[in-house]
Structure formats: C-alpha cells, structure tokens
C-alpha cells in the first residue's frame, strides 16, 4: 500500500467513524441508533486494519478482526436483544433537542482540535492528525451519556466513548500492549452484559427504562 492510498483509506475510515457518531445524535429511533453503532464498529475495525497493514504488523491486523467482531457484531446483537424486550423504541424527549445537539457536536469537535494540539505536535503523522476526530467521538459519547434518558441510549453513549478511546489508542501508538487491549475488550463486553441485565431489572421494577424514573435516591 503506497502512502497516498494509506492516507486516503485512513481518512475514509475516520470520516465514516465520525459520521456514525454524529448521526447517533440525529436519530431518535433506538433501532437506528444501534445500527449506526454497528456501522461505527465496522469503521473502527477498518481503521485499525489500515494502520496494521501500513505498519506490516500482523498482530494489529488480527486485533482489528477481533475488535470488528466485538464492536460491529457482538455488542450490537446484545443491544438489539435488550431492545427487543422493551415496548418503547424511541428516545422520547432527550434533554437537548436534535438541532442543538448537532451544534454542540460541532463545538465539541473544535474543543477536540484544541485539546489534541500537543498530541499532533509531538508526532505529526497522518495517523495522529486524525486523533481530534477520535477525540470528538469520545466527547459526543459523553454528551449522549449525559443528555439521553433511555437506558439503551446511555449504554450507546458509553460505547461511543469507548470506541473513540480505542481509536485514540491505535492512532497514537498502534494500540496499547496486547494484554491490556484484551482486558479492555473483555471489560467492555462484561460491562454491557451487566448493564443489559440491569436494564431488564429496571423494566421489571419501573415499568419502562426511562431514566427519569430513577429519582428515589437523592439528597
């Protein structure tokens, strides 16, 4: 793979990665949000695979396959299963409306560029130039986590953050050591399983998984 193909592929993967994240803010239909999340998992796998092929590192390419399987197939499947158990499939009333959310996403992008300047300066390669994009996805995930009221949307917000962080890790140094990466993936999978069980329990206890009902414990 010559240099310009590498850069083009890298940018295409990053573009798809960011677009999927922003579109999550736009859609209210929970099934569509899960589809977008699966798409983003695919883009992340492609991104890592491009980096791996460029560096000729077979371990990274293998990791790309594993991460793709986890984030584009397994996690969306778990989310769909959690969705199938519930009646309401729409984000009823997000705390911030769609138009404002998209504007805020643009501002978060600017913030990400400002914050990641030292990172780009330390090692100005095509990969680190894409770090702001990954960081934007982290911030969008945090934003979804804070402003959405459906349990499932909050899980997606957490997973968007996690996708973004994984992307940062690979864009900066082709990933943290293998054992840490495996541990992280396992932890994410288990966290989603735990949250899925809790979602079912909340549905049994509260009737639906609108998190506005979570207000019994407060001071």
């Amino acid at each position: 793979m010559n240099h310009s193909t590498y850069v083009q592929l890298l940018d295409a993967a990053c573009g798809a990665f960011l677009l999927a994240g922003v579109l999550v803010l736009w859609r209210r239909d929970l099934a569509a949000i899960v589809r977008l999340f699966a798409l983003q998992g695919g883009a992340l796998a492609l991104l890592i695979a491009v980096l791996g092929v460029h560096e000729g590192d077979a371990e990274v390419v293998a990791l790309a396959l594993g991460i793709g399987a986890l984030r584009a197939l397994v996690l969306p499947w778990l989310l769909r299963r959690a969705l199938a158990g519930g009646a309401a499939n729409r984000e009823t009333q997000p705390l911030v409306n769609v138009a404002t959310s998209l504007t805020i996403a643009a501002l978060l992008g600017l913030l990400a560029y400002a914050v990641s300047r030292p990172i780009v300066r330390l090692d100005p390669t095509p990969a680190t130039h894409a770090v702001p994009i990954a960081l934007t996805v982290v911030l969008i995930g945090l934003f979804v986590l804070v402003t959405r009221r459906r349990a499932l949307s909050q899980i997606v917000g957490f997973l968007l953050m996690d996708n973004g962080i994984t992307a940062v890790a690979f864009l900066t140094t082709s990933g943290v050591p293998l054992i840490v990466e495996l541990g992280v993936s396992l932890d994410v999978l288990l966290a989603v399983l735990v949250l899925q069980v809790l979602t079912a329990r909340m549905r049994a206890a509260f009737g639906d998984t609108d998190l506005d009902d979570l207000r019994e414990l407060r001071d």
């Binding site: 914050v115 900066t172 050591p177 054992i179 992280v184 966290a191």
Partner: protein
C-alpha cells in the same frame, strides 16, 4: 517468589470456586474468611520480603514493593472483617426473605472475585493491568450493589456502573496518551506502561501530552475513589449494597482506586514537577470536603451518612497527597488503614441496626445503645474513630496531615479543611447521638431485635476497633513498612 505473589489472587479465586459449588450450605462461611486471612498473611510476608527491594513474578506481570504489600495488608484486614460478618448478615437476609439460597451463593462468589480483583490492582506491575483490575471491580460489584433487587438497589447499581465505567474510560484515555508519550520518550515498548519504566523515563516524557494524560488519570481513578466531581454514585451504591459489601467498597475499594492516583502522582511529579498534581489534588480534596459537609448537614439516612463520611476521608487523603512531604505521605497511608478498619466496623454495625430496625432512616432508630450495647457501642466507637477522636489511629494521621500542611506552606488549605471538618463532626455526631442515646422507642420494629450478634461477627467488630485503637497508640513493626511505602511514593 512468584507463588507468594500469586497467593493473594489465587486464594480468593479458590474460595470463589468453593462458593460456586451448588448444594453446599453449612460450610460456605469458612472459605471466605480463610481466603481473606490468606491475603492478609501474604501481605505481611511480602512486607518482610520487600524490605530489601521490590519483587516481580509471572513474567513481570506482577510486582510487589512496600506499598503493594501495605495495600495487601489493608485489603486482607478489611476483607477479613467483612467475611467474618457475612454469614450472620446473609442468614438474617434469608430469614427476612430478602435473599434466596442462590443469591447467597452468588454473593459468596462475587465477594471473593472482588477481593481477587483488588489484590490484582495493587500487585499489577503496569498501569494497564491496574486499569483492567479496577474496571473488573466495577463489574463484579455491580450485582452486589443490586443484591436486594429492589427499585432502590437497581437504581443504585445502574448509576454505579454507568458513572464508574464512564469515569474509568476517561482514565483509559489517559493510559493511552501516557503510552504515546512513553513511546516517544524511547521507553522499551514491551514494558512501556510499567511503573518502574515510566518512573525511570519520566523526565523525558513530553510535558504537554503528559499533562493531559495525568489530568484524565486523576479524574478517572478519582471517580472510582469517590472524589468530587464524579462522586455521585457513591452515596447510592454504598447505602444500597449489603453491609459487608459496603464495608469492602468503602473500606478498601476507594483506597485501592486512590492508590492508583498515588502511583500516577509519582510519574506526574517526576515529569511535570510537583505543582501540577498538587493543584489537581487540592481542588479535588477541598471540593470533596465541602460537598461532604454540605450533604451531611441534615442527613436523614445513616448509611448515606457513612457514605458521605467516606467522601470526606477520601478528600483528606487527597489533601495529604497534595502536601506530599514524607510526613504527609506516611500519614496518608496510615489513614488508609485506619479508615478501612473504622469504616468497615461502622458499616457492619449499621447492617445489624438496619436489620433490627427495618429501615436506614436515622429518625426510626432510637436508644440503640440501650437495646444492644455491643452493636450500638461498636457503631458509636467506630463513628468516634471516623471523626478523629483519640485513641484511634485516625486522630494521629489527621493530626500529622495538618501539621505537614502547615509546614509545607499550605496553611490556607488546611485551615479551610479544618473548618469543613468541624461542620462534618457536628453533623455526624448529632445524627449518631440521636440513634444511640435516649430511651428505646416503642414503635413498630422496635421489638424485633436479635440483641446479640453471633460470635464470629462480634469478634470481627472488636478486632477491627481494637486494631484501630492500637495503631493510634503505637505503630510497632508497621512503622518501617509505612516509611518504606512512603519512600516508594517519592517522599524521601
């Protein structure tokens, strides 16, 4: 040597396996206490062994120095208290119909896995393994927080997993960035997240990138340690979890997360100078103390009162770490142990009170000292210890932190902390007095008290309180260990 490092992980995992075997009912109480004792014993042996220098094992994956050995002792001691109290607590829960035999078995498996994850966190040679271990504690304890399956318990578990996972994800971003900085400082890539390698190359880490990484790490691990601003999960989780689990979470899990902050601070100080980490920790310390003081005033729930007291004590630890002199660091470590012992006794006795009164509202409990001198007295003594009264060791450690602060020129911060502590002391003492003193109530629930706890549980309470008091009088062999561990933290 490797065996000694694996023992603190293997013993709880074996006990978890023993709990997982279905059909065993009577014997299930002993594996837990035995494994906790094994963790404590290996901590003590490691403390002796590491006096000559750190030990590594399992292909460099595990590493123990004086600080790890000390933290293992804390984990083992608090786990022992919690495990001694668990059988009686679970029997009462089953008798009251709050839990089934299956819940009890799962409780045994999860608490042991929890202890193993904390032991892994303090024995991890690298920042990455430490991160994985701390995230694992969140996953394992999620179902322990939601043990009762009530609305409140489920709500608390949800908040706990979401806030802690998001917080710890930010810490992972910090890990990734620190890894990036390390690669460009020519740290060998095989061990580029190892504490020793990072500390050795800290001087050549890029300061700008390291600054972002350290801020994220302190924020993320601080969330798990219950430091403001990401503390919101703590009062809910600690008040809804079964009492022995609250004791473990409040007594050691917070300190294990704070241990991660302390390790990060060593690297931050070497790479950026002492000012950056100090500013972060001072902000977190004063914010946590102010928050605890504000919410303890007029607190109506005694388990939440203990939870906010944990935020207060984490704030004090952060204050001590911000001061960072040898005296302050030694005091911080002693405070970790003293707080672990006193807070677990407080939570364990509060579990008995809750089971007797049927509620955790302060107003519903009256004259408890007269109804059950052992439980009421234990709760009262533990709260006095937590408020920093002598002879308990928290008196000595708080005094040392304040003295160190004045010497280091941080008198303004110590002064502010003292004012907040005064408010906290008044609020907690008033709430506790209302529960313990006065004539026993005659309302509903007042008569259902099993006035005497079983032998194992009572022994645990007395053991915890007397250990805390003895440490306040003299440190004995712990003195050298504390000095060595403080030296690991860069306080020479």
């Amino acid at each position: 040597m490797t065996l000694l490092l694996i023992a603190p992980l293997g013993a709880p995992l074996l006990a978890a396996g023993a709990h997982a075997v279905p059909g065993r009912r009577r014997g299930t109480s002993w594996p837990g206490a035995l494994s906790a004792a094994a963790v404590l014993a290996s901590g003590i042996v490691l403390a002796v062994q590491t006096a000559g220098g750190p030990r590594t094992g399992l292909h460099g994956l595990l590493r123990a120095d004086s600080l790890s050995a000390f933290m293992l002792i804390v984990i083992g001691a608090v786990a022992l208290l919690a495990m001694l109290a668990s059988p009686a607590y679970l029997a009462a829960e089953e008798a009251a119909g709050h839990a089934t035999a299956r819940d009890t078995r799962r409780y045994g498996v999860l608490t042991q896995a929890f202890v193993a994850a904390m032991a892994l966190a303090v024995l991890a040679a690298s920042l990455g393994t430490l991160w994985v271990a701390i995230e694992a504690t969140t996953i394992v304890t999620a179902f322990l927080v939601g043990h009762r399956r009530t609305r409140n318990a489920t709500e608390a578990a949800w908040k706990y997993v979401v806030i802690c996972s998001a917080g710890i994800a930010l810490a992972f971003l910090g890990v990734a960035l620190l890894h990036f900085a390390a690669q460009h400082a020519h740290v060998p890539s095989s061990g580029s997240l190892d504490w020793t390698e990072l500390a050795a190359h800290a001087g050549s880490l890029d300061p700008q990138v390291t600054r972002i990484a350290v801020a994220l790490l302190v924020l993320g691990f601080g969330a798990k340690a219950g430091l403001a601003p990401l503390h919101a999960w703590l009062p809910d989780a600690h008040s809804q979890a079964p009492a022995p689990v609250s004791a473990l979470m409040s007594g050691v899990l917070l300190s294990v997360a704070f241990y991660a902050v302390l390790r990060v601070k060593v690297i931050a100080d070497a790479a950026l100078g002492a000012g950056f980490a100090r500013a972060l920790l001072l902000t977190a310390a004063l914010a946590s103390l102010a928050l605890a003081a504000a919410l303890l005033l007029g607190q109506r729930d005694y388990k939440r009162m203990l939870a906010y007291s944990s935020i207060e004590h984490m704030g004090l630890l952060a204050l001590g770490a911000a001061i960072g002199t040898p005296l302050a660091m030694t005091a911080v470590l002693l405070h970790v142990l003293g707080h672990g012992l006193a807070k677990s006794v407080a939570f364990l006795t509060s579990g008995h009170i809750q089971q007797a009164a049927g509620t955790s509202r302060i107003a519903a409990v009256r004259g408890f000292a007269a109804r059950s001198p052992l439980i009421g007295g234990g709760f009262g003594a533990a709260v006095l210890a937590l408020l920093g009264f002598p002879p308990f060791s928290l008196f000595a450690s708080e005094l040392a932190i304040f003295r160190a602060g004045f010497t280091a020129g941080l008198g303004w911060a110590v002064g502010a902390a003292l004012v907040l502590l005064l408010v906290i002391t008044a609020a907690v003492a008033a709430g506790t007095a209302r529960m313990l003193l006065g004539a026993p109530g005659t309302g509903p629930g007042a008569a259902t008290l099993p006035s005497r706890p079983p032998l194992g549980a009572a022994a645990g309470l007395l053991l915890g309180l007397s250990a805390c008091a003895v440490l306040g009088i003299g440190l004995g062999p712990l003195h050298d260990l504390l000095l060595d561990a403080a030296a690991v933290l860069g306080a020479h």
